[in-house]
Subunit: 244 residues, 6 copies
Amino acid sequence: MRIAVVNCNTSEAMTAEIGEGARAAAAPGTEILALQPSWGPVSAEGFYDSFITAAAVLDLLTTVRDVDAVVMAGFGEHGREGARELLDVPVVDITEAAAMQALLLGHRYGIVTTLPRVRGQIHDSLVTAGLAARCAAIEATDLPVLAVGQDTDRTIEAFVEAGTRALAAGADVLCLGCAGFTAVRQEVSRALDVPVVDAVTAGVSMAEALVGTGLTTSKVGPYALPLVKTRRGWPVHSSTGARN
Amino acid sequence: MRIAVVNCNTSEAMTAEIGEGARAAAAPGTEILALQPSWGPVSAEGFYDSFITAAAVLDLLTTVRDVDAVVMAGFGEHGREGARELLDVPVVDITEAAAMQALLLGHRYGIVTTLPRVRGQIHDSLVTAGLAARCAAIEATDLPVLAVGQDTDRTIEAFVEAGTRALAAGADVLCLGCAGFTAVRQEVSRALDVPVVDAVTAGVSMAEALVGTGLTTSKVGPYALPLVKTRRGWPVHSSTGARN
Amino acid sequence: MRIAVVNCNTSEAMTAEIGEGARAAAAPGTEILALQPSWGPVSAEGFYDSFITAAAVLDLLTTVRDVDAVVMAGFGEHGREGARELLDVPVVDITEAAAMQALLLGHRYGIVTTLPRVRGQIHDSLVTAGLAARCAAIEATDLPVLAVGQDTDRTIEAFVEAGTRALAAGADVLCLGCAGFTAVRQEVSRALDVPVVDAVTAGVSMAEALVGTGLTTSKVGPYALPLVKTRRGWPVHSSTGARN
Amino acid sequence: MRIAVVNCNTSEAMTAEIGEGARAAAAPGTEILALQPSWGPVSAEGFYDSFITAAAVLDLLTTVRDVDAVVMAGFGEHGREGARELLDVPVVDITEAAAMQALLLGHRYGIVTTLPRVRGQIHDSLVTAGLAARCAAIEATDLPVLAVGQDTDRTIEAFVEAGTRALAAGADVLCLGCAGFTAVRQEVSRALDVPVVDAVTAGVSMAEALVGTGLTTSKVGPYALPLVKTRRGWPVHSSTGARN
Amino acid sequence: MRIAVVNCNTSEAMTAEIGEGARAAAAPGTEILALQPSWGPVSAEGFYDSFITAAAVLDLLTTVRDVDAVVMAGFGEHGREGARELLDVPVVDITEAAAMQALLLGHRYGIVTTLPRVRGQIHDSLVTAGLAARCAAIEATDLPVLAVGQDTDRTIEAFVEAGTRALAAGADVLCLGCAGFTAVRQEVSRALDVPVVDAVTAGVSMAEALVGTGLTTSKVGPYALPLVKTRRGWPVHSSTGARN
Amino acid sequence: MRIAVVNCNTSEAMTAEIGEGARAAAAPGTEILALQPSWGPVSAEGFYDSFITAAAVLDLLTTVRDVDAVVMAGFGEHGREGARELLDVPVVDITEAAAMQALLLGHRYGIVTTLPRVRGQIHDSLVTAGLAARCAAIEATDLPVLAVGQDTDRTIEAFVEAGTRALAAGADVLCLGCAGFTAVRQEVSRALDVPVVDAVTAGVSMAEALVGTGLTTSKVGPYALPLVKTRRGWPVHSSTGARN
């Protein structure tokens, strides 16, 4: 099985970390392609970045061949429905995957994430996915995306504090609301004595599960293949004005 | 990996069929224990049966040892939260698993099930699970649980008709709302040209995914271990009035 | 008029207290049968217990004859829909009855209950009943079910504290979220100057109201009589494998 | 016990019919005062009429003394929250009472009412009351309020047709969405084989139940007594500019 | 363009202030008629007052001719749907207008209002309008309606405090939940560094926008013209028992 | 006042038509800039196109200076939250504007749009905007975006048919769910006797209303200015890798 795990930003370090996390999560026999778009922000922190990355990731996906599933590894980022339209292999957004696994392990879940400003788009992403009903809280650590992992002790401390607030709000299971947090997951879980879902891990395991069933994306409704038409300057990576 | 797949009723034939479906769905190296309670109805079709099977399944689960996950293989049946409280390994209800996989494959999902009377409890199960927001329709075939599979042609025809109504109501992906339908899944999918999620398959693959992550059920909130206390005549299977 | 008031656990003391509360609530001419199941936990505190009591209560209800209504006197416990299917006389769950009377007396209601762990199942019960929209808070006292009433002063104090939190969250009327609290209702109401609904009282009065209208449970939808079928080892109390 | 049952319009015939229905519903020993406002429309069919009747009924209620409860007998009409603020005895809106009893007797309820135009305000009333979650349908007969009861056969036929549509939409219990329909209730119930809740009957029985509990309206939140202030030309019935 | 801006209470001073605010908000060429009902409370603070003002405003509106739109300038007050039924020109409730403009300027909005008791009716008004989904908080200053503006410093301080609580609850834009606050809007906005929507200003600008489109109120559904019928003692201002 | 009205696709003809509609809607003294992105699809019909246009429109908006507001003239398209983050002038999405004006003119609104496949994204857009609660139906004409206006008679007929279905589902006011339909609005309104909101007109008039109030977008929450960071290959139109 071959799964493309797509970082939404253009930070090679984060793509590498996501790839490493994905490989650690994957079953034996699953090959992980860790990809990143050729353009866009080095980190996505807000709606503006999120919509840029959505297009940059779709641009990238027009070139992806011979994979059995795509994992979109940007937490709370846009674009998953576009990828489902473009592709017929299963597309798993790590936001959805993390929420789903959390729903199976606890009664209400909390999200602990980076900057306060991204809480709104995570909330919108869960509402749109139809998964918000049992979300108890979305709490921020006030760490920028790229700071996560630089000072592991401070990162863990910040996540434990945010997690404590989420538990007080009624959560009994947490999701790490960012790609690339795999390293701190266990520390936070141990400190708070609750299961902590790493989103990339959740995404890979859910994608493997879907591939195993042989099911592919519905093509009779909103996710039918894109109409053939002129898309000026698109795909951007080649700028040949190709139709796709 | 060892997964207990628990039929909720006492029909050996259905337990066998569920076990067969589960084994077909399982990854190499996953051992499937197909179990059924020692008491309760031969089929569950309604709230009364559902609550009997919930207790009978919990009774059974007090005896289950050395499994890595439990799949509760009764579609729309009660009891999953009790199993989560009793056990710390992941517990996956096939109702949830099917809805989750459907959410990843389509924009809105429909359920096609057996008798009209069970639509209410399926609806309640999805609402309680926090997964109802993108459910477009729950449609019944008017086939009793045990009739499914007896006359394959008639079963397929009935499911295609119910599925057609669900698609007209806005679904673009379907779930088979019953355990033991594995055989007819492909026919219905082919006839309607949409992905059709088999619930047992979804349950097994989601359980494998969870086991792979190493996560276990939260024990700090509503799913904390049952208090130690006297439970008269319980477990029922041994009637020793044991405490558990 | 003859009303069966069914304690869900096997504590005789609590059944007696529930019966006493029910008789105090009943109109002249209403006969109260205070019943308890023959098996199951001595107190229900969590999902596991709740599903056991649901079956034990249904088991009991297969033997109940000649009553005009059934009041299910377990707050937040499962099984009411099964009882509605089994019987045609009105079935009133005290959870619903308390919430309904609270809705008529205040703008938003709060629940004050026993252990924190049961808040999840009370929430689910209200959501399933379609009565959660105006619930402002579910607050716990951290008193186990059987401790309630043992130390009246401490019980009252704990409920006043929990009630204060519920009012701060926007409630202007409270429900005691447990059977057998009748004694402390007035003290809490006096301390907080708000109406406090005792759930058993609410259940009995609502059952009387329904019996007075002559209406009985719908038998055309999900609450149609259970299908005739083999239910192995059921009813449990007699274990004759009878059909019902 | 003394209950004021308040018709919202100024049709003496309807007030008489409502009073008759209320007396038939009341327990022995309950005295029914059938009242109507001194001004306002002869029938309420729409938002404009509804807001006029809300004020006219509140105007009337400033003069009501020595009652144990008030039943507001206009289905889907406004004003109940104002009455709760003005009074401390329980105030039961028949819209709420009917929906509540229906929720106890079926899994989802339908409303059958008079003109199509009033469906919107009935819907709003149920949403505001927090009781809409299990409402399957609100269906109109196209009969004006005052035509109901004039031609009993046609009325029954029209309600059976509307009820059939509500059942097809998923209801398994119906409410008559108008005061003064008591006479046709049994015919509709017999024709469709479902329980049919008469709203006035529901209102009286729920008011009796509340009075029996001794509870009164919350005075600490939105239903605190009206502030003392100048209300020009109010109450209208006396036009003395009194303060109340 | 001629817009009637209707204060719901009978305080001339407040009507004058509302008129002044409306004129400041209006485009050149828009004529503002600042109106108030001939009867009813001098200020509306609660459900009882609100329903009185609803009828008094509708009474007034039966006499209003030759306007292009009506702005109902009572925040959280009842009656807008009745005005829409009576009139065909656009009717804009300042509660709706403020919420709508806030939705366009921020991700979630908060309301800061006068007395705690009115929070319930503001909440109900937003729910009924279908605008509550992104309301983060409704916070009260504990200032009575007529105190607002008397001591500007204290008023500003109180609103800044309430606004701070709303921002902490997740709002990033505020609405002043009362007519007649125009003067303090800028001070609060400056202190908290967020946009603060003045409801009267929002109402006037939205009414102008609607008039500019040429659209008028729907007359095919719940807002069809009132039926012609006897309305005893109505309109109240003339008490001629006229039909309208 | 100067308003940029941004077509989301790269069809010059549609940009011209949108500009014409916007100018017809604008007040005297409002200057309309009709813009389109320099890259992307010639029409947006689905999630894939929608996410491409979101980035292309944001790319364009990095170059827009000296406007008082931005109207995003793609119905149901993505990107509005990104534009709100990038800019501080008000940003009005025509989807929101149309729904808001419809809410003020009717009790429940319907959307009539182009291809069935776009219904999902329109639904998601309304849910995310917090405006879905009173949406009765989203109906498609099965006309591609660019076909609209080519054969006016057929277009009108198709919209009348879709509108008829929306009214049957409970709507009493309609929105044209596409930019560039201005020409057919009156015909559809006349045929169905309901107000029909043209989305571009609504967007322009709402933007003018907001500009008139002097309010600007909140910068303290999710719409705070984008962080300064490297965005590789962005903006795309100049590909200088600039920071913005």
